[in-house]
Symmetry: C2
Subunit: 165 residues, 2 copies
DNA sequence: TTATTATGGACACTACAGGTCCGCAATAAT
DNA sequence: ATTATTGCGGACCTGTAGTGTCCATAATAA
């Protein structure tokens, strides 16, 4: 249960691209040396980000990457979902097993046929339910944090530190 | 970024053990057939749960497993951490790279030496910071959900469905 | 036209989840 | 005490996803 290194690289790359004083394009060379990752690998990651409309890329001399939208419109969730994929964090491998029938029977006063859950649709796993709630919570948090909000925070800290001095 | 199947199995097994009408011990045979998993594999998982004090096990005839604490004292977080390990969800692979120095410089009015972050300790990655916040949020949610709370929920639903009928 | 830069396919390596098998140890019933 | 039963744990296997490299090709600006 860990985020991949690729996600780390992607986030760092985007933060770099989000720096306000940059002139338009940042080449893969600069990015890779800044992050300490090989060009070949990092370019794979940048391609993904481009395919999903997070960054724009232009080849040729003085080419490179730039953010495709405003930094405040790129959330952590966006980035993570591009790199990690959009599969659910948890899937009950156990649908329609004994387990769920037992859970459904209990408390139902032992009715003769338990077509009930069939009719009520889905017969969703309670565990899955809880885990989906967890995922939604997580997503909400990640939606509230953007590349821009991170930059703002960093900025604030530095100024604070400087003024304290 | 997905929870392993083992976590799924562990949670289902614990829900099974948490059923109120059970007499003390549930054998691996019953568990594995209920969940639809092989005995060999499931026993590995149960061992982990035992080593962490989630369940108790007794060998011999009529042996088996039972919860080592009350179902309301077994949180989803407990189970997940036993199975998935306790490593952080996100680690910045990038400490002390160019990236962080740049972030620190910006807004600090270009002071001559940036020993500042060295002195202020840690020089923690802002991205990591955000991700740690996300993890804490997630953990809080998972701490609030226990095996018992799930059983209660399932119970309530069944009764509701029955009375509606 | 040419040098530069991104793109994408093919391939290699590694780690780990997922799973099996088997011998050993502990226990309760007889 | 013996024996059948049940859990324990180590060794092993397999497939796949993450990580990473290399190279040929396409696109672009000077």
């Amino acid at each position: 249960m860990q985020f991949s290194k690729s996600t780390d690289y992607a986030l760092h790359a985007l933060v770099h691209l989000g720096h306000p004083e940059r002139c338009n394009n940042v080449g893969i060379k600069e990015l890779s040396s800044t992050l300490g990752v090989s060009e070949s690998y990092l370019s794979k990651i940048m391609s993904k980000l481009r395919q999903d409309g997070i960054v724009r890329a232009v080849p040729g001399v003085n080419g490179g990457y730039e953010l495709a939208r405003l930094a405040e419109q790129i959330t952590f969730l966006d980035v993570i979902q591009v790199i990690e994929g959009r599969q659910k964090m948890f899937e009950c491998s156990n649908t329609k097993s004994q387990q769920h029938r037992l859970l459904a029977e209990e408390g139902s006063a032992r009715r003769e046929r338990d077509q009930d859950q069939e009719r009520s649709g889905k017969s969703e796993c309670m565990i899955e339910k809880v885990m989906e709630g967890a995922e939604q919570h997580l997503h909400q948090y990640l939606r509230e944090h953007t590349i821009q909000s991170l930059l703002d925070e960093a900025f604030k800290r530095c100024n604070h530190g400087a003024s304290k001095k």
